[in-house]
């Protein structure tokens, strides 16, 4: 237990020095190519905003089923199979068929190569399930079909969220998927998330549609309110162009009318359709509808063939800028709801860092003084080990670019308090061994060997708690689990290699000294 080979000593020294260097790299700014790893500060320490968004998939499911109703109707029409009364109700599609066709219809839905009902071999499941209720057929999404739908709307949504956040130009945003219907947005350094929140809260579904007085419009009509919420107009459901046709949108100042406008450019298809609609619809009112509300409804005066136009609607420069941004980044597939928000101002973050550092320093000094008073030379060994341990811990956190949070700092302080436990167990055991053992070296050997199970037990129990916290905890608490867990490994390393090395050197030099400890 006391013997260390030269090679081993070299290894321990190099390892410790390496981690001390890595840990201290946080204090300097290196060239990125040389060494660019740093401990990340959590949002609670550097300030910033944490937003958890949930996608409301109900409208997507509704829309998708609506489309499917048409698809199913057309499919069977083409195949000359007669189905009747197809309709969508409570998120189910219902239809009737004659008894002769029933089996054919079921086969179409249950065929693995079905065009109508895609089969996912990986999940051994179709997109849709069909049930013969006796009086009619009932079609609905399978569990897998629903999951596919949700993940695809999540994929689309995260892309749009990313574009919008990027457009606002915040510092290194972190945008991640959570489950299959949530998106996590972390915005470091942002102390007022109001603008981003309002941008993410809008679906930004833009359509250009004619206002009509003809209740029997071929495409159907709906009554929509104007933005101000007072007036109402009847709008055709026929979409001339939508947000998808937009190539660009920018806020502009209309010097003639002295108001802020949003000017836009259309893609080829959009330009063609817009040109055609404006040439046939001169004199009509064209409603510009955003998320179910009419922004404005200008009268078409001229054919617009250039593929560009402008929207006016009593904007301030800020609202015009935001609308242009929303139009550029595209529409969300479904509305988002902010279900959790945590924002910390930068000065509170700095205060927390300061408080954490002061607590760490004071806790550290108390422990060091206590250990020195209690164990003298061995206390000194423990203290040196403790300092190296702290550096290795910080080094490991740097290497893995871990995120340090306020509870994470608490975890480091706690590690300082608990790290001495292993050394104390060893030293106390050596003391006991020395009671009936005169040979110092044998007593030390005994002390190390006999305390090992207790030390292992002690650290495994804490590690188990840390592991559970890591997997179950969220955000800042996770940071605590990381420092506590990593701290256990660095502590064991420093106790069994560094402290033991120092102890062995001291004991071999004082083989015959009485009352060694």
């Amino acid at each position: 237990m006391l013997y260390f080979s030269k090679l081993r000593i070299l290894f321990i020294t190099l390892f410790s020095v390496l981690f001390i260097l890595i840990a201290s790299s946080n204090l300097f700014k290196f060239d990125d190519n040389f060494f660019d790893k740093k401990i990340n500060l959590g949002l609670d320490l550097q300030g910033g905003s944490y937003l958890l968004l949930e996608i409301d998939n109900e409208p997507v499911i509704e829309q998708k089923l609506q489309n499917l109703t048409t698809t199913i109707r057309n499919y069977f029409k083409e195949k000359n199979i007669k189905i009747n009364n197809i309709k969508m109700e409570n998120q189910n599609i219902f239809f009737n068929a004659t008894d002769n066709d029933k089996q054919t219809i079921l086969d179409v839905f249950q065929d693995e190569n079905s065009e109508l009902n895609p089969y996912y071999p990986r999940f051994k499941s179709h997109q849709l399930e069909i049930e013969d209720t006796g009086s009619n057929f009932k079609v609905n999404f399978t569990k897998q079909g629903l999951i596919k739908l949700k993940t695809s709307s999540q994929d689309q949504a995260i892309e749009i969220v990313r574009r919008r956040v990027d457009e606002v130009g915040t510092n290194e945003p972190n945008i991640l998927k959570r489950g299959n219907n949530r998106i996590l947005v972390e915005l470091p350094g942002l102390d007022d998330p109001m603008r981003i929140k309002s941008l993410l809260g809008k679906t930004a579904n833009l359509t250009f549609r004619f206002i009509t007085n003809d209740e029997n419009d071929r495409f159907g009509v709906e009554k929509l309110k104007f933005e101000d919420g007072l007036e109402e107009a009847t709008v055709s459901k026929r979409i001339i162009i939508s947000g998808e046709n937009l190539l660009d949108a920018q806020p502009k100042m209309d010097t003639q009318a002295n108001q802020t406008i949003v000017s836009f450019t259309l893609d080829r298809v959009g330009a063609k359709r817009f040109g055609k609609a404006t040439s046939t619809g001169i004199g009509k009112q064209l409603a510009i509808v955003l998320d179910g509300k009419i922004i404005s409804a200008p009268v078409v005066r001229d054919t617009i063939a250039s593929g560009s136009g402008q929207i006016s609607g009593g904007f301030t420069f800020q609202t015009a800028t935001d609308l242009a941004l929303l139009l550029r980044s595209g529409a969300l597939p479904a509305p988002l709801e902010i279900i959790e928000e945590r924002t910390v101002g930068p000065d509170l973050g700095q205060d927390s860092i300061n408080a954490g550092m002061i607590a760490l320093a004071i806790g550290f000094i108390l422990v060091i003084i206590f250990m020195f008073v209690k164990y003298k030379i061995f206390g000194l060994i423990t203290n040196v080990t403790l300092i190296v341990n702290l550096f290795i811990l910080l080094g490991v956190l740097t290497l893995f670019e871990a995120t340090l949070t306020l509870p994470g700092i608490a975890g480091i302080i706690l590690t300082v308090g608990m790290a001495v436990d292993a050394n104390v167990l060893i030293f106390e055991r050596i003391k006991e061994e020395l009671k009936d053992e005169n040979n110092n070296i044998l007593a030390f050997d005994g002390g190390y060997t006999k305390s090992r199970t207790a030390i292992l037990d002690a650290n495994i129990t804490t590690l188990l708690a840390a592991i559970i916290l890591f997997f179950m905890g969220s955000g800042p608490v996770k940071g605590f689990a990381v420092t506590l867990g990593v701290g256990i490994f660095t502590t064991l390393f420093s106790v069994y290699f560094i402290a033991r090395l120092f102890t062995s050197i001291y004991v071999s030099r004082n083989k015959n000294k009485e009352k060694l400890i």
Partner: protein, 296 residues
């Protein structure tokens, strides 16, 4: 040698009372859940105008129809913590509040921290908190069951339950807030308490093998004394660290460090007075460990 075993009965009685009282408190008074688990909104506000105080803030917030509002000082004279239910989960509530406060206080305040937890998220957080604590207790149970004879496992687990229940009981008694960091603290307490118990148990088992003629009543006392200086030193250094966090680590970590301090105190106590007494009451003897050794 200190005769810890002289008070086994007294302290068992005390612990039983503590557990019963804690359970009654938990059942009838319940825990003061923070917004993490109850949902709602929290605002930490710093004022630069002496006109802004608890009562003027409370007046302002009460006019805004936010449901139950609580306003408290937070750490010093200029910092306040405002919490409310946000029942209807209004979207732009923070902006509305800002506009409203601007009217009475101008620009003399600053929101330092805003947290808003929706009802869905808080229910999930509570569920995962309960799962985390149960899972850690279960894992400890499995671990100790693998490492020791069942009598020991029972002792350790009883000690563990005692620490968790009594710590939560204190939180209930003083209506201290339970938030995410308290869950972290409770889990760490579980680890710490187990650690402390295992060190003494290790020694008890070692002594059981060594001495065949000493009764468990005496033997536990010897083992406690042999490991006593370690128990004291480790609790002391851990408490130093925790007290440093409590007094200097800022207002946010206060609840966390308090829970841990309580846990360390109860954990140390229960290792001596609960875990060991279970061994005594179950009449553990040398045979218990030897039988187990033979099996292996």
């Amino acid at each position: 040698m200190i005769a810890f075993n002289k008070y086994y009965n007294h302290f068992n009685l005390l612990s039983s009372v503590l557990i019963v009282v804690s359970l009654l408190l938990l059942i009838f008074k319940g825990l003061n859940f923070g917004i993490d688990f109850k949902g709602g909104t929290l605002i930490e506000l710093r004022a630069s105008d002496s006109k802004i105080n608890v009562s003027s803030l409370r007046d302002r917030f009460n006019q805004m129809d936010l449901g139950d509002v609580s306003v408290k000082k937070f750490g010093n004279e200029t910092d306040f913590l405002v919490k409310f239910e946000n029942k209807d989960n209004k979207k732009n509530i923070i902006e509305e509040i800002k506009a409203n406060l601007d009217k009475s206080f101008g620009n003399n305040y600053d929101f330092r921290r805003v947290e808003n937890v929706g009802p869905k998220v808080s229910a999930e957080l509570l569920k995962s908190g309960v799962i985390a604590i149960s899972l850690s207790l279960a894992l400890m149970l499995i671990y100790i069951w693998i490492r020791f004879e069942w009598q020991f496992s029972l002792g350790a687990i009883l000690a563990l339950f005692h620490d968790v229940i009594v710590t939560l009981g204190v939180f209930s008694l003083f209506s201290l807030e339970i938030n995410l960091s308290i869950i972290a603290a409770v889990l760490t307490i579980v680890g710490y308490s187990m650690n402390d118990t295992v060190v003494i148990f290790d020694r008890v088992r070692e002594n059981l093998r060594k001495y065949s003629d000493i009764k468990i009543f005496e033997l536990t006392n010897i083992s406690i004394n042999e490991t006593l200086s370690r128990t004291i030193i480790t609790s002391a250094t851990t408490l130093f660290a925790l007290l440093a966090i409590y007094f200097f680590g800022g207002e946010i970590l206060k609840g966390f460090s308090l829970a841990m301090i309580l846990g360390v105190v109860f954990g140390t106590y229960s290792s001596i007075y609960i875990a060991n007494t279970v061994l005594v009451r179950l009449r553990v003897s040398q045979k218990t460990v030897l039988r187990e050794d033979e099996k292996k």
